[in-house]
């Protein structure tokens, strides 16, 4: 029944487990940012669903709309908080990963090669010094 569609939409609005698949709506006009345009599309979508779900009886329509509005108001804070928390956590993780990535690159690309080059130089120097010392000993004993 068409009258159930508004109720179904509102019920699913509170369900964060619905499939995240999307469709693209081709807008002939481009009002503002994508977020703004998406809001506009959803405003139209909800009102068209409301239109399709409205009974002839005005008081019944008021009851259905009030009940839907009340349901939406009850889930609104949860979604706001979830969105804030999710995006904050994601942004923090991205920032940490970026910073660590720079540290890793610095260590791998600069510090490690430099340390290995230094170690090679120390070993060569040690070999040279030992050879010179041994030669000095031989000359001294000769």
């Amino acid at each position: 029944m068409r009258g159930d569609l508004l109720a179904r939409f509102v019920r699913e609005l509170g369900d964060a487990t619905v499939a995240p698949g999307t469709v693209a709506v081709d807008l002939p006009e481009a009002p503002g940012s994508d977020d703004r345009a998406r809001f506009l599309v959803y405003v139209g979508l909800v009102d068209l669903l409301a239109e399709a779900s409205m009974p002839d009886d005005g008081e019944e329509a008021v009851r259905i709309l009030s009940s839907s509005l009340s349901a939406v108001r009850s889930i609104q804070p949860t979604f706001r908080f979830a969105l804030f928390e999710r995006s904050s956590l994601t942004e923090s993780r991205e920032l940490i990963a970026r910073m660590r990535g720079k540290d890793i690159a610095l260590t791998s690309e600069w510090m490690l090669p430099r340390l290995r080059r230094d170690i090679d130089a120390y070993n060569a120097r040690i070999a040279g010094l030992r050879a010179a010392l041994e030669l000095g000993l031989e000359e001294g004993s000769g």
Binding site: V41, Y42, D47, R125
Partner: protein, 178 residues
């Protein structure tokens, strides 16, 4: 100029069910027209019971459309942002493990090796001087200012939760002694 705006497929499916005989371009045009008109109207949060029924229905529809659209946009961002969130978590974990491996297993042995070798070079140079040999004349030489100074380096100590717990207990035990 047209623009593609994504919404959840499940939401679009409900709308298609409501208007099965309306083709997509027509439905999109209606969405935009309806959405634009409601957004441009000043919103009236109060819906007094004494108002005529028709006006109450009008105010409630406007309110519902705006509030539900706000939640729908939030839900869209949460659901479509899951992939990004998962990628961020994976990347954070991956860089943590790489960083830890470098700082715990790769860098310390090399720095300690360099530290020991630097000390040995200096000892041998000192030994050469004692024997009357000028170490400056022995090749190859080291360009010290261009080396990494690791003489004061100590391997970092990574504590376990258990060792930290023991340290705290020990601290308070000592603090409690007369």
């Amino acid at each position: 100029m047209t623009r593609l705006i994504e919404i959840l497929a499940s939401d679009w499916a409900i709308l298609r069910e409501a208007f099965p005989r309306v083709d997509e371009p027509e439905l999109t045009a209606r969405l935009l027209e309806r959405g634009g008109a409601i957004v441009e109207r000043s919103i009236e949060e109060r819906v007094p019971e004494g108002l005529p029924t028709e006006e109450r229905v009008g105010r409630l529809r406007d309110l519902l459309a705006r509030k539900a659209a706000g939640v729908a946009v939030h839900r869209f961002e949460i659901l479509t942002g899951r992939e990004r969130a998962a990628r961020a978590e994976e990347s954070e974990q991956e860089t943590y493990e790489t960083y830890l491996e470098l700082e715990k297993d790769v860098v310390p042995p090399l720095k300690l090796e360099a530290k020991v070798l630097r000390a040995e070079v200096r000892n041998l140079e000192e030994e050469a001087r004692r024997r009357g040999i000028d170490p400056g004349g022995i090749e190859p030489r080291i360009d010290w200012p261009n080396t990494l100074s690791v003489d004061a380096y100590e391997r970092p100590q990574y504590e376990t939760n258990e060792s930290r717990r023991r340290a705290v207990v020990e601290f308070f035990r000592k603090a409690g002694e007369p």
